[in-house]
């Protein structure tokens, strides 16, 4: 099947406006401009396109929350892609920038916004030249600026670079960061659709989400719903990393099973046995072999107490030390905790201390319980999802691999005895 999002893999130089237009580029925007904003929202709603950043909120519904006739509204693209194991938006940015721009312009028209910012993580600057060139091309071709494509609609579009903070992928933190403040989330309400950037109604959409929009406008909601599953229509870019033969991005219809995805990436590296995988980068609970035939969709992993999230699969083979893996992820979340709310700031700090002790053989069986207790005490008490995410690698690794934790304690005790003797 030809790609919907990673089309540059079939079409050379798709990042150039001329080539993009030869392949139907900006036809979706043209069509949108011939419709009313409400009609555009209806099409996207009917397609049931859901947020590809991981939360899965229906995109058209999100747009419909923006108050009609609000004088100033903003569209923000979330290209802060910082989840461990996630590298899909970078490929789109580098190779198919016009498809992101077109989707964002359609979003802007739908909510009557005249200003779009693409919030790109600072580390992607070197990958962003094509995106910046694409914006310049659009400016020259009258696709951005005053009265775009001969319509009476005007819109400005700029890139905004972050500076290294995972938390800025959280929509309210992203808004604070663009406003020039510390990138820390706020407690909702107010929701961005009511009070966002500069306290004006704001839509924040993931890059991949927006890359779907133009094709939906051109081909219709029914075309989109033919792909994927009933509740999770469309295609998804899945990032495969870790112990697979061919790590990379794979575009598949939603509902493809995890086993099929690993096979697409050439299977587990070196013919080793599969042990576990993190399905949503670092932030979703670990799954094991019993979940491999589950569909990769918004609902697919519910019976296995996990989530698809951003569909970033970090695959681990039989040689992987799961306490080590959980320590790595805990270190990540401790480092990335923004420090605003106490449960997350303190919880991630103490979880790292305790799991580090366990990993290095200085822990006791009580430490395993302590670790669980810190994690469960954070659950439901943090200001944003980061604190919740941070507990997932810990709780799920203990759930699936408790003997490995106990073995660390036993090995540590044995070593101590040997030293004492």
């Amino acid at each position: 099947m030809a790609h919907v999002l990673l089309r540059h893999r079939e079409i050379p130089d798709l990042h150039k406006l001329e080539v993009y237009r030869q392949h139907g580029g900006y036809e979706g925007l043209k069509k949108a401009l011939s419709m009313t904003p409400a009609e555009v929202i209806d099409v996207v709603k009917a397609s049931n396109l859901r947020g590809r950043g991981g939360a899965g909120f229906p995109t058209g519904v999100k747009w419909s929350f923006i108050p009609k006739n609000a004088p100033d509204t903003y569209v923000l693209i979330n290209t802060d892609e910082s989840e461990t194991g996630t590298f899909k938006d970078r490929e789109l940015t580098e190779h198919n920038p016009h498809q992101i721009i077109e989707g964002a312009l359609i979003a802007a028209y739908a909510i009557n916004s005249h200003l779009v910012f693409n919030y790109m993580r600072g580390e992607f600057m070197d990958a962003a030249y094509a995106f910046e060139e694409a914006l310049l091309e659009c400016r020259e071709a009258g696709i951005i600026g005053k009265n775009i494509m001969g319509s009476d609609y005007s819109v400005e579009f700029y890139t905004h670079y972050g500076a290294g903070a995972y938390i800025c992928g959280e929509e309210t933190a992203l808004i604070e960061s663009i406003a020039g403040n510390l990138g820390q989330p706020w407690s909702k309400p107010p929701f961005p659709a009511v009070e966002g950037l500069y306290r004006k109604p704001t839509v924040v959409n993931n890059t991949e989400t927006l890359a779907n929009v133009a094709a939906i406008l051109v081909n219709g909601a029914d075309w989109f719903k033919q792909m994927g599953t009933a509740d999770s229509p469309g295609v998804k870019i899945v990032c495969l990393s870790g112990h697979v033969e061919r790590p990379g991005n794979y575009e598949v219809p939603l509902g493809t099973t995890y086993r099929q995805l690993i096979d697409m990436a050439g299977g587990v590296r070196g013919g080793k046995k599969f042990k576990a995988l993190l399905p949503s980068g670092g932030s979703g609970p670990i799954i094991v072999a019993d979940a491999l035939d589950a569909p990769c969709s918004y609902e697919g992993l519910t019976p296995f107490h996990s989530v698809m999230g951003s569909a970033s699969l970090i695959v681990m083979d039989e040689t992987t030390d799961m306490v080590w893996a959980a320590l790595k992820m805990t270190h990540f979340f401790r480092h990335e905790s923004c420090g605003k709310c106490t449960p997350c700031r303190e919880g991630t700090y103490w979880m790292e201390k305790v799991i580090d002790r366990l990993y290095h053989g200085g822990g006791t069986e009580d430490d395993i319980k302590l670790l669980e207790s810190i994690a469960t005490n954070m659950t439901g008490k943090c200001l944003c999802a980061l604190g919740e995410f941070a507990t997932n690698p810990i709780l799920s690794s203990i759930r699936h691999f408790l003997p490995e934790y106990k073995a660390k304690v036993a090995a540590g005790a044995k070593k101590k005895q040997a030293v004492a003797a």
Partner: protein, 182 residues
């Protein structure tokens, strides 16, 4: 002074935002590009342009990991050793890099050429081991490629490194866009 050197770019940047405080991260990138790290002088210049208190710039310098609060080597080698990269040898790569440069992580070589750091996910997990050096990515690395990179960077430095930096290229688009708009 940034204001003089990048007058056109800064004007274009400030014109983009309904509130000029939004330009702060761009200006901080520009300041660090100019001074090598977020020195007091650099932070004061950013604060002056935006009419903000310098302590606000300081708080952002501490919050965002791409800003350095201390002087660094000419080239900052930032290796991702997060889980996904570590499963493909990133920790061993860091050890090798540390040995080759004869500095610990966070250390700087005596000649002031290289600083070695470990960082969180850079979004290139499929091409591990990888590193970011002055905002450029170097991917699918091994010991030989790392050695070649060091040689290449040393040669560049000796030649006065005439290529525009990543930040200079990016800020250049701001000025081009403003010109096209006129």
């Amino acid at each position: 002074m940034l204001r003089d050197k990048y007058a056109q770019e800064i004007d274009a940047l400030l014109a983009r935002f309904p509130e000029k405080k939004s330009a702060i991260l761009h200006l901080m990138h520009l300041a660090q590009n100019e001074y090598g790290y977020m020195s007091d002088e650099a932070m004061r210049e950013v604060a002056d342009i935006l009419e903000l208190d310098p302590t606000h710039v300081l708080s952002l310098a501490g919050f965002y990991s791409l800003f350095y609060e201390e002087p660094t080597g000419k080239y900052v080698l930032e290796v991702c050793n997060d889980l996904a990269c570590a499963l493909r040898g990133a920790d061993e790569f860091v050890e090798m890099a540390s040995r080759k440069l004869d500095i610990p992580v966070d250390g700087t070589t005596n000649d002031g050429m290289f600083t070695l750091k470990t960082v969180m996910c850079l979004g290139a997990c499929d091409r591990a081991p990888m590193l970011q050096c002055n905002l450029k990515f170097y991917e699918n690395l091994d010991e030989a490629k790392f050695g070649a990179l060091l040689t290449d960077l040393r040669a560049k430095a000796a030649a006065g490194d005439p290529e525009p930096t990543v930040v200079e290229r990016i800020i250049g688009y701001t000025a081009s866009d403003a010109q096209n708009t006129k």
